[in-house]
Amino acid sequence: MIEIRFHGRGGQGAASGCTVFADAAFRGGKRVQAFPMFGVERRGAPVASFVRISDTEIRARHNIYTPDHVIVLSETLMSTIDCTEGLKPGGTITVNSAKSPGELGLKGDFKVYTVDATRISIEHGLGSITSPIVNTAMLGAAAKVTGQADIELLMQCIREAAPSKPDANADAAKDTYDAITP
Amino acid sequence: MPNKHYIPLKNINDIPTMAKTLGTMLVNETGSWRNVRPVISNEACIQCGICWKYCPDMSISEDEEGFPVVNLVYCKGCGVCAAECPKDCIEMVEEVR
């Protein structure tokens, strides 16, 4: 069973992103479970959400403490929270950042990836420079790094779930998917 | 003695599943509440229907000639008909049983 934790800010769509990601994995034949950090979500405040993906029945119905993968929707979160907390040895962390992985200065038994999802999202007309919409874009990166979702299925799920601009959202995911080489 | 509206319920099998009412309150002969009874004198009666209109016990109807008659089975003897009669032709007299 693979466990993934997404870090974002309230209003960024980390929770709905997780559901879409789980949906894509499910359509690829996996058992899935997705849930937000349980509580009151407030715009701007740090939030987390989670996905479990497995080939067999998922019985665990409790929080995720030791994720295999971490996805960070906003680099600025790194200064306030420990995004690698509990990350399994040999796991991965993927950060939305214009920097290179080395520049983030993360140390530990895990691999670090970066992708400039903000730039990609804005290029696709998703949000504005002050408030880019990056959740769908980061799903592409997550699909690549975790290997848990097929990019075509993911794009289809994004198109179905996006409240507007379905194709732009799906294309942004494709771009981050292509931008990362694990 | 219970009248024809009485519903004999003996045990649990006779009562409906829901607390659903089965019969009318005509079972309840409220004439027994009365201390005074209305006596109508037809001489001055103009058949205006006011006693019928204001009877809170639905106990006044009209006879073949159009005069009001009181159903003493249900009349509670409130005296509203006598008080409201514009011709003062209803008198409340003491009930003798």
Binding site: A15, C18, T19, A22, D23, F26, R31, V32, Q33, A34, F35, P36, F38, G39, V40, I58, R59, A60, R61, H62, N63, Y65 | L9, N11, I12, I15, P16, T17, M18, A19, K20, T21, L22
Partner: protein, 385 residues
């Protein structure tokens, strides 16, 4: 058709598949997604129902009662404070013998303000005369909405299905939404035995009743509850035949050859299976038993599964202050007349949404297997000094 849905949306789709005709509801965290989705389904014409957007939960239940008395299939959803506000009308629905169905998200009672899960909101409505189903998965949630109407309408009692706040309400997982034509076969249009239509006579409901018949009306409610247990089992079996999914009122996991058995409900029942596997791997002959119902309480099934066990444990995500966990009380009580009564541990876990992990359940299994009980309450995972 399988869709990835939250528990909340599983409730909404369940009410749509069951063809609820009148929905009266008021928003409360963590239930809001249910009413949002139902609004959407009604607005899109996918669901043919009247949605009464009432000004309180009390009015929500009152409106459901009115609609049900008018002969329509009525549904609502709420949680915690909302359920508590409804309380008077919960009694009303049951005593009026109206088959209203309600989904309640198990959320702890305030104060302090909390939106996380435990069962105290529903266990404190235990004696209202409502059937209570506790659900383990989003699939069970959707299916239970449909089953609940089928049972409620036969026994003329209202039914609530219960799901954990967040652990189900906000958790997305694949749910197989049944073919509505097949659901129609399982659950035909509601035909009330009596309704308020003036063309059908002039009944009055709930008229003043003195000591002459009130007692007997209560016995009738008890009989209906006793019948409900059989109907729940029969309807679940039929559901299984038609849809391929079944939810026993007491469902054992590796229970047959177990020496130590823990009783669980709701989502903990799912997590407990992993804990049982770990215990088995460690050489403990453990099993678990999920209890689906609090009312009617499945006494014969509890007795059967408990028979011959060396020791039992009961995990309650609730507390009856001044006593103990509610399921613990119930399970002890129905074993009292048994000739051989196994020792039994009472655990309180996960109040206010405190996470109950595989590790936590495993610990409770170890205690159950390891020693005789000394008290009625073991506080699991509490920060005791």
């Amino acid at each position: 058709m399988k869709k990835v849905l939250t528990g909340n949306h599983a409730v909404s789709y369940g009410s749509m598949l069951a063809r609820a005709e009148v929905v009266a509801a008021y928003p409360i965290t963590p239930q809001t997604q249910i009413v949002e989705k139902i609004s959407e389904l009604c607005a899109d014409g996918v669901m043919d129902a009247k949605f009464i957007k009432v000004e309180s939960e009390h009015s929500a239940m009152a409106a459901c009662i009115g609609a049900s008395a008018a002969g329509a299939r009525a549904f609502t959803a709420t949680s915690a404070q909302g359920l508590a506000l409804m309380d008077e009308m919960l009694h009303w629905a049951a005593h009026a013998r109206l088959p209203v169905v309600l989904a309640n998200i198990n959320r702890s009672m305030a104060p302090p303000w909390t939106i996380w899960t435990d069962q105290n909101d529903t266990i404190s409505r235990r004696d209202t005369g409502w059937i209570q189903y506790y659900c383990e998965s989003n699939q069970e949630v959707t299916d239970s909405v449909i089953q609940a109407f089928k049972v409620a309408e036969q026994v003329e009692l209202p039914a609530m299905l219960v799901l954990d706040s967040f652990y189900l309400s906000h958790t997305s997982e694949p749910v197989d939404l049944a073919d509505i034509a097949l659901v129609d076969k399982y659950l035909p249009k509601y035909q009330a035995k009596h309704d308020l239509d003036p063309a059908k006579g002039h009944p009055a409901y709930g008229a003043l009743c003195n000591d002459e018949w009130y007692y007997e009306l209560q016995i009738k409610m008890q009989w209906a509850m006793e019948k409900a247990l059989d109907v729940i089992i029969a309807e679940d079996a039929l559901f299984g035949e038609m849809f391929g999914r079944s939810y026993p009122v007491v469902e054992g996991y590796r229970a047959d050859d177990a020496e130590y058995l823990v009783f669980v409900s709701s989502t903990i029942a799912s997590t407990a299976k992993d804990a049982v596997d770990r215990a088995r791997a460690e050489g403990i002959k453990a099993g678990s038993a999920k209890v689906r119902l609090l009312r009617p309480f499945p006494k014969p099934q509890i007795r059967k599964i408990a028979k011959g066990k060396k020791r039992l444990g009961v995990i309650d995500r609730n507390i009856s202050y001044g006593s103990e966990g509610a399921f613990y009380t119930e399970i002890k009580s129905c074993l009292y007349h048994e000739l051989q009564r196994p020792e039994i541990h009472g655990f309180i876990a996960g109040l206010g949404g405190r996470d109950v992990t595989v590790d936590a359940v495993y610990e409770m299994i170890k205690i159950t297997a390891g020693r005789s009980p000394e008290t009625d309450i073991n506080w699991q995972g509490a920060k005791l000094a």
